[in-house]
Amino acid sequence: MSFPLLTAVAALPAIGAVATAAVPAARRTAAKWLALAVSLATLVLAAVVAFRFDPGGDRYQLTESHTWIADFGVRYELGVDGIGVALIALTALLIPFVVLAGWHDADPLEGTEPDRRWRPTQGFFALILAVEAMVIISFAATDVFLFYVFFEAMLIPMYFLIGGFGDRAGARDEGEAAKQRSYAAVKFLLYNLAGGLVMLAAVIGLYAVTADQLGEGTFSLQAIVEARASGELTMAQNTERLLFLGFFLAFAVKAPLWPLHTWLPNAMGESTAPVAVLITAVVDKVGTFAMLRFCLGLFPEASAWATPVVLALALVSIVYGALLAIGQRDIKRLIAYASISHFGFIVLGIFAMTSQGQGGATLYMVNHGISTAALMLVAGFLISRRGSRLIADYGGVQKVAPVLAGTFLIGGLATLSLPGLAPFVSEFLVLVGTFTRYPAAGIVATFGIVLAALYVLVLYQRTMTGPVGPGVERMPDLRKRELAVVAPLIALLILLGVFPKPLTDIVNPAVEHTLSDVQKTDPDPEVEAAK
């Protein structure tokens, strides 16, 4: 029996979370260093996973399989394909930056020494590590039930992160801020919980179908896909469509797709910048990932049936998110709406059902994670200096804090998919993949790029250029810790923008497998057009 590598990648942050939470109240700094060390060790393990993964090998690798709850037909089954590897790597990569960027976010307020038992700092970092562990398990689970358990369970630590550690720079007084925060946390939880419960009904339905036809209920993704391929398991058209909808709804809330997106601006606006990164760059990726792995894998025909509607929703997300981003007065909410627009691109790529589209969507997940992290974390540093999230409160920052302004610009340019930076590659692939099958959708999506340029550049212009605004005059530039957060992210953006091959090599075979699940091949080039 081989070393359970995937379990180890998830278990390490889980154990780290418990250890961090157990650090005594007075040793706050020790808890921070412990969390950082654990997240770095997890990154090392994730790197091992990436290197052990053979892109040309089996579809699912590093598999583990144990009986968990035999009565429900549930197995503890882990395994990764290229998409899973890429996203586990992204998660493990971003968490150290999240920890480092949030170094002081959970410190007790100036001049107050909280009582012995209340340990917010330890709790903050423990919760981040707990989320990391659950996200990694979700990316690695090949058992639907196992996936569902962690998909739902991760809401709880996320909820406490949003509601318990809000952005102190937001509202005028603490009471108002607490109210907003608690509203955002509850909204986040209720949206996602409701989506998850609908999925629960579908999960149970899936069990009933498999139990009915295979004699024994199963949740194993591979077993179900094989049984469907061999004709052993057939789903009535309506059953399949209903189950698909149950799954898709949960993922669409998580992703988030218009019109189920409204929790995201609240959640990202009210939480601290690192937590906002955790939401949009890490946790939400579980939603789009699950569309690829579970919706397409389990319900190919229903996916094809739903494609037109999903594409339409994705297009609305792209345009609507971008338009609302332009109108935002709050920096963090602007980035949140930009993310909604980007998630539209990801979903568009997935449901275009072409290899470029899906490969691009997977790359997009990774690149969006890195670029949003860069932009959001710099924005967080900016906000912590001035104590305001409002764009109108800034101006001329590039004169007093050039490095901050420069990194902010690069993060912004990445967000608008400037060629040479990583998101360009993925956005281009998604558009190409969409054009080959749905040219009209491709044209609409292209507007999203134009609008992205608008909201990013206007944001930069209003905050960074012009005369130095009040309260900005003495703004210090990035500190060492902050540079240590931003510099590697920007380096990665450039590296993956110029040389995305390692990533595409890992992702592409997995995409081919997914496409063969839905029995789609890329459309032939149109010969007439070439005449």
Binding site: A70, F72, A153, L200, A201, I204, G217
Partner: protein, 544 residues
Amino acid sequence: MSTTTELTLRAQEMIPAPDIEYGQLAPVLIVIGAAVVGVLIEAFVPRRARYTAQALLAGLALASAFAAVVGLAAAGRATTEAGLVAMGALAVDGPALFLQGVILLVSLVALLTFAERRLDPRAHGRHVDSFAAEGAAVPGGEGEKAAVRAGFTTTEVYPLLLFAVGGMLVFPAANDLLTLFIALEVFSLPLYVLCALARRKRLMSQEAALKYFLLGAFSSAFLLFGIALLYGYAGSVKYADIASVIADTNRGTTEALAGTTGNDVLLLIGGALLVMGLLFKVGAVPFHMWTPDVYQGAPTPVTGFMAAATKVAAFGALLRLLYVVLPGLTWDWRPVMWGVAIVSMLAGAVIAITQTDVKRLLAYSSIAHAGFILAGVIAATPSGISSVLFYLAAYSFVTLGAFAVVTLVRDAGGEATHLSKWAGLGRRSPLVAAVFAVFLLAFAGIPLTSGFAGKFAVFKAAAEGGAGALVVVGVIASAIAAFFYIRVIVLMFFSEPKVEGPSVAVPSPLTTTAIAVGVAVTLVLGVAPQYFLDLASQAGVFAR
């Protein structure tokens, strides 16, 4: 052969001497016996020694009764050797033993909260518990003051508890209607009394007891009326006989009833009345009206015990009735149960949203949970039975734990049950708030807690039993319910503590143990439920 012997022999032929399997009845006999001894202790042991004697006796009795249940199960009485005892009056089979085991464990944990004497401030230098100094004294009157001054405590609660447990042990095992009725009364009457014995807010407690008693009396009357009608229908009160008349394999045995035997009108009305009586005890809509008032007014340890154990016993009896007596009527009772389950789930969840008192909130949540459990009952399959058994085990420990936490949060007026007083509890006592959050998440059915495993089991059984629509309603109700569980968590963790807010009392090891057991069971059944699911599915067959 002398005439006397001959007469005796003839008499024995006519009136057979009852043949009682004492060994198999041991759990019930131990508990009832200990209860009787408890009454004697009240009569003869000096007052200062009573608390220790009673608490020890009750603990010992419950533990040894549990050991007896385990022994019976180990001897195969739950599976291969299952059968009827006491001339067919009681069944010793899988569901009976499983539920008796759960009831005994639940009572053992509840006993810990009954015996807690550190929470209330000392009265005149003596430790006091949650129960009135003297139940019979007029609230606020001279008698009460004198009793409090003298440091009296009501140690009668322990024999009352034991009697109630004895009745609950018989209830899910009863195999004829008269035994069912007597068991119902044996466990209900002590509960009425226990509800009236709160030390604080005595008027409310007495009001709760009176409401419980009046409505309970109604439901008993319904049950009894149903029994009479079914007797008229089948000419027998034995489950097996009634089932065989329904199945048309038997035309009745009593000549006098030949005119009515097999009359479907009697069967349907009788069956409906019987089920109504049981649904009342379960607390399903529309027979739930008593639940919030009683849960709120009763002393919290009693509420916890009642909420957990009564539900287990009553669902056990309901399962046996529907599966053993009325399987031939599945097509008649299923639609009704569908309606009851749906209304219970939705009404419980929706009304709970508006509650401002923790105990009332938990009461409405228990109504919603009764609906979830009914979804498993409706499945009418073996996996339905085992899922209900598992859910009951999981739910009862969560409930006990939650009410045990409620006893800890106190201000000058005793327990601070108004929700607004719980604001910011997480800041003051992170551990207590975290524990309560675990219980709330389990109620809400969040994965990795026992609530999720239980909910999944009953919904799965319902889906397999062809009740997919019920699953969808259940999921919607869960989403609504999640809202108010989460609201309490928000209140505890994200609200600023009130200046004059309640404090968390430091309990003795008794309550601490009770809460720790609740948390442990909640997490173990959530993460590794397989062993217990196996146990429940092995126990899923009724002896007929």
